[in-house]
């Protein structure tokens, strides 16, 4: 029986240094843009400069006709189609190159090829496109108007999807006498991985395959999508994600440029490459986070929250994205809005609207940063109204530890944890009492100090039943891992998920170490190549460590059993007398190294026992938690901010996090993921915004206009952990890749409103820019003057 090698300090729970850092820190990573082939062609796209128009004509520049391609030239390239079985969902086909209409600024209209990107851009600049402009639908609320322009003529409105759950608020009316109503907006953003999208495609005649290196989180899904939309068999497509410089969700979808590159390399019979630049990324990638809320919280006079009533609007952009659709966000908002709170009544309507903006994609945290912000900001407004510290409202209203596992009012099956404890701990960490005492004396620099927090519970690693309920075409099932002993006793571990900054080459090796005791340095983790790894829906939804990690553990256990049979024979003892530990097969009589096992299986099979497993020392196993409704991570964040009331500028002075992601495989990676996520949350809270004018023109197309959080904007995060293992997963692991982003806008917004409470001002729209903070202050001052007069 394999009981692993945790004793050597490199298994689950160890702060093993990341194996992949050696190459990255030395600049030796290999990214898609690093590939070169003789004769390769570079692609540049002609993109729509208008938000909504009929395409009248496209004129190719004289002398370059053969280098310019439009949808008309590519009849065998099908539009990307991502349907959903959600009731009433309207799926808008997403043509890789626009056909009759363009529906957002940046939509690809034509593609140009040349020896260099600069020359391809020269040609693109010379392509003449005539647009018959139509009025644009820019705002998701305006999209609902009866007389709003129609983006998809075959629809009778601009509604992509609606979810609705009603409830009887009469049940709580006599107890919930405090009713707090608020309105919130979260701005549209662009995800900004360090590496943008990048594609390198070539046709391999020997393998009869389209081979595509692409910067993606989901190589197997890209393969399936390419085959579908290019009319190939899936055996004819191999997708490889080499080193990938971050994704955050925007690389979990098939992109038009990938489809075009696949078509182009076949047509040109030459390798083709497209490297997205940051301007393309900021314009066509302004695709996430944009929500609007009307929310009403019902509570007792003491602050026990009993009911939530919410109207959510999601701006889904122009098309449905393959394969997860642009309806996921609304469905997730609906199911996650109640968060960790034990509600008696919950009414929620979500409306997902199509607009003339890039198609909505799931960004780290998916919908939850929005719903957490709406609920947690309203909760603090309630706290100010009844004069109770907000953390007390949280603690008294959260689902109790003793009630878990618990089916929430939104039908989420919470597994384990102590939500209120995380609140209590983070209140201590941030030093609430000291901050309250200091607030009574003005700061020397005239700024106002505020403290705020946010709590969430996050479904991670949710499986078949959950995705099937969302009706998307691609539902994850049993995640597989393959382990293979090498002849010299090393281990090859192959997983279908893709690591693009999560450190899985390390954490998965730690998992192998946990079962087999093998040194992680002797484990090669192969991922991101459809030719070498088991089919997987890929890396998203904080699923990889639970799913691929669980599969790895199971495959390693079977491998251990097979090695025990061989080892027992070599040690001349009974099977029951041996076990795998510390990278060896051990018995009371001695031990056999993995290298010895490998040598015998591969090179000296004459020494094998008769009862050897003929599957050998290579094992593929699948894994799915049971139930597969998800492992629920949770956390409470608290921060202290200073608000300059003259300029409206906000500085985060201190930031404390208490998180619980169950069993931690590598606490250092957990902390790094959390800090990175929270820094992105600071971007959402204070900096990042993709604004549009009334015509649908994007207002942020370079980093001069799109503010990203940098080193100077990230506070020194302080973190503490709780570890409540999930009863449903291998080793009790829960997913945690996304959570850092979720409560940050709420915590910072609450801290700002706490700082401004003496003025009576509240912010309610992200990012909380100096301009918006000043506007809130001005409005409150005017309001007061009005009252005084």
């Amino acid at each position: 029986m394999a009981d692993g090698g945790a004793a050597d300090g490199q298994g689950i729970g160890a702060r093993v240094l990341r194996k992949e850092d050696a190459r990255h820190l030395a600049g030796r990573g290999k990214f898609t843009s690093d590939f070169r082939r003789p004769g390769q062609q570079e692609m540049a796209f002609v993109r729509s400069p208008v938000a909504h128009a009929r395409l009248k004509s496209i004129t190719k520049p004289a002398g370059h006709e053969a280098a310019v391609f439009t949808a008309t030239d590519m009849p065998d390239m099908l539009p990307m189609r991502a349907p959903s079985r959600l009731p009433g969902y309207k799926a808008a086909d997403y043509p890789a190159l626009a056909t009759e209409k363009v529906r957002f600024v940046g939509e690809p209209v034509a593609v140009c090829v040349a020896d260099t990107r600069a020359e391809a851009e020269d040609i693109a600049q010379a392509v003449q496109v005539e647009y018959d402009e139509l009025p644009a639908v820019v705002d998701m609320l305006a999209a609902k108007a009866d007389d709003a322009p129609q983006i998809h003529e075959e629809w009778d409105d601009n509604l992509v999807m609606e979810t609705f759950a009603d409830d009887d608020f009469g049940k709580i009316a006599d107890r919930a006498t405090v009713v707090v109503k608020r309105e919130y907006r979260m701005a549209r953003q662009a995800m900004n991985p360090m590496e943008g999208k990048a594609v390198f495609a070539e046709w391999d005649d020997r393998a009869d395959q389209l081979v595509m290196w692409t910067s993606t989180q989901v190589p197997h899904l890209i393969r399936t999508g390419l085959a579908e939309f290019l009319g190939l068999e899936q055996r004819q497509v191999r997708v490889i994600a080499p080193d990938v410089g971050g994704g955050f969700g925007c690389k979990a979808l098939l992109q038009p440029e990938e489809v075009v590159a696949g078509w182009m390399t076949r047509h040109l019979e030459a390798p083709v490459r497209w490297i997205e630049d940051r301007r393309e990324h900021l314009v066509t990638g302004a695709n996430c986070r944009e929500h609007h809320y009307h929310i009403t919280m019902h509570a007792t006079p003491e602050g026990r929250i009993l009911g939530l009533d919410c109207d959510v609007t999601v701006d889904a952009g122009a098309y449905s994205v393959y394969p997860f659709t642009n309806g996921l966000e609304g469905a997730m908002a609906h199911g996650n809005l109640p968060g960790p709170y034990d509600l008696e009544v919950y009414r929620c309507r979500t409306q997902t609207m199509t607009t003339n903006k890039p198609p909505l994609m799931p960004y780290r945290g998916v919908a939850r940063p929005g719903v957490c912000y709406a609920v947690e900001m309203t909760l603090d407004a309630l706290a100010r109204e009844i004069g109770v510290e907000a953390h007390k409202i949280r603690a008294m209203s959260m689902i109790k530890e003793s009630a878990l596992p618990f089916m929430s009012i939104a039908k989420k099956h919470f597994d384990s944890g102590n939500y209120a404890k995380s609140v209590e701990m983070v209140v201590d960490m941030i030093g609430l009492d000291e901050i309250r005492a200091a607030q009574n004396t003005p700061a020397s620099d005239g700024r106002l100090t505020g403290v705020g927090m946010g709590s969430y519970v996050e479904q991670t690693a949710h499986g078949t039943s959950v995705f099937a309920s969302w009706g998307v075409a691609m539902v994850p099932g049993y995640e597989q891992a393959t382990v293979r002993l090498t002849p010299d006793g090393g281990l090859e571990l192959r997983i279908g998920v893709q690591s693009h900054g999560q450190g899985m080459e390390t954490s998965m090796a730690q998992m192998a170490n946990e079962v087999l005791g093998i040194d992680p340095a002797k484990v090669t983790v192969t991922h991101g190549d459809t030719g070498l790894t088991p089919y997987s829906t890929g890396t998203y939804a904080s699923r990889s460590m639970v799913m691929a990690g669980g599969a790895t553990a199971r495959a390693c256990r079977v491998l251990a059993e097979r090695m025990e049979i061989i080892g027992a024979h070599l040690l001349q003892c009974e099977r029951a007398e041996v076990s795998v530990r510390g990278g060896k097969v051990v018995s009371g009589k001695g031990d056999v190294s993995f290298a010895e096992i490998g040598r015998v299986w591969y090179l000296n099979p004459d020494e094998l026992p008769d009862d050897v497993d003929q599957g050998g020392v290579e094992v593929t196993m699948g894994y799915r938690p049971e139930p597969d409704s998800g492992a629920f991570t949770y956390a409470s964040h608290a921060c202290k901010v200073a608000v300059d009331i003259d300029t409206g500028a906000v500085e985060v002075l201190d930031y404390a996090i208490v998180e619980d992601c169950g069993t931690m495989v590598n606490p250092m990676i957990v902390e790094g993921q959390t800090y990175g996520g929270a820094t992105q949350g600071i971007g959402t809270a204070l900096l990042e915004e993709s604004p549009y004018d009334a015509f649908g023109n994007p207002g942020a197309s370079t980093f001069a206009d799109y503010m990203m959080p940098g080193a100077t904007d990230a506070p020194h995060f302080r973190i503490d952990h709780m570890e409540s293992p999930s009863p449903f997963t291998e080793y009790g692991i829960k997913g945690m890749g996304e959570g850092g982003t979720i409560p940050t806008p709420a915590a910072i917004g609450n801290a700002i409103n706490d700082a401004l409470k003496s003025i009576g001002a509240e912010v309610n729209e992200t990012p909380f820019t100096p301009r918006r903070v000043r506007a809130a202050i001005e409005a409150a001052l005017k309001n007061r003057q009005g009252e005084a007069a």
């Binding site: 260099t116 990107r117 600069a118 851009e121 020269d122 600049q125 630049d277 301007r279 003259d646 300029t647 409206g648 500028a649 900096l687 370079t702 001069a704 503010m707 959080p709 940098g710 100077t712 904007d713 820019t769 100096p770 301009r771 000043r774 506007a775 001005e778």
Partner: protein, 271 residues
Amino acid sequence: MKSAKFDHQRTSSLEDALAALGGADGEARIMGGGQSLGPMMNLRLAQPDLLIDISRVSGLDGVEETAGTIRIGARVTHARIEDGEVPGVTGAYMRTVASGISYRSVRNRGTIGGSVAHADPSADWPSALLALGGGVVIAGQDGERRTSFDGFQTGPFATGIGYQEILTGVELPTLGADAKWGYYKVNRKPGEFADAIGAIVIGAEPRAVCGATESAPFRVPAIEEKLAGGVTELSISDARDMISAHDPGFDDYELQIHAVALSRAVGRAFA
């Protein structure tokens, strides 16, 4: 994006550079550190036919102090100023300004001459130097001429430099030991371009500049008069009124942050 096609001519002397400018067919642009023009060309916002590279032209990289004047060559980088190459009180003021320009990697390449000639209203030097006083040195086919910072910048990205001329340096007053100065920049985060600049220098006479506007930075005589009268504080509401008199086209928030910048610059001058 990649730049449109252009010819590149590296010059080693001012004469060569001027000759290249004179002989250019189409639009020619002078490039020093390339920290502004480079990105603009990559975005194809600038598409010059000829790029005249003066990054190796000799004689433009010195800092010299003569009686009452400090001459700084156009090629002197922000980093060298940040590191203290400009002497005295003038240097102390300029160090503060330089250290707030973008990031060190940009300061290592970006030059004071390039910034003044580029005349981005949101950049630091156009406002900071207008407050300091002095002027620019411009070379042309007919030799050198000097012009004061007052009136030099005529609008956003527009100055009095002619098409056949090259800015070769700036000449700045040597501030006395009793001079006072304050510089305050409002921006979204460290290293970003300014949303508002207040610059106050009280040397031979007080100069107060409101910068990071839609157009050229401008002096605010009402503030200068107050300072000349011995006032050491400026309220935000007074600053709002004084700036408004110039009709700068600000909305309420822009007016507010420019007023804050000037108010705090005065505060820093007398801190």
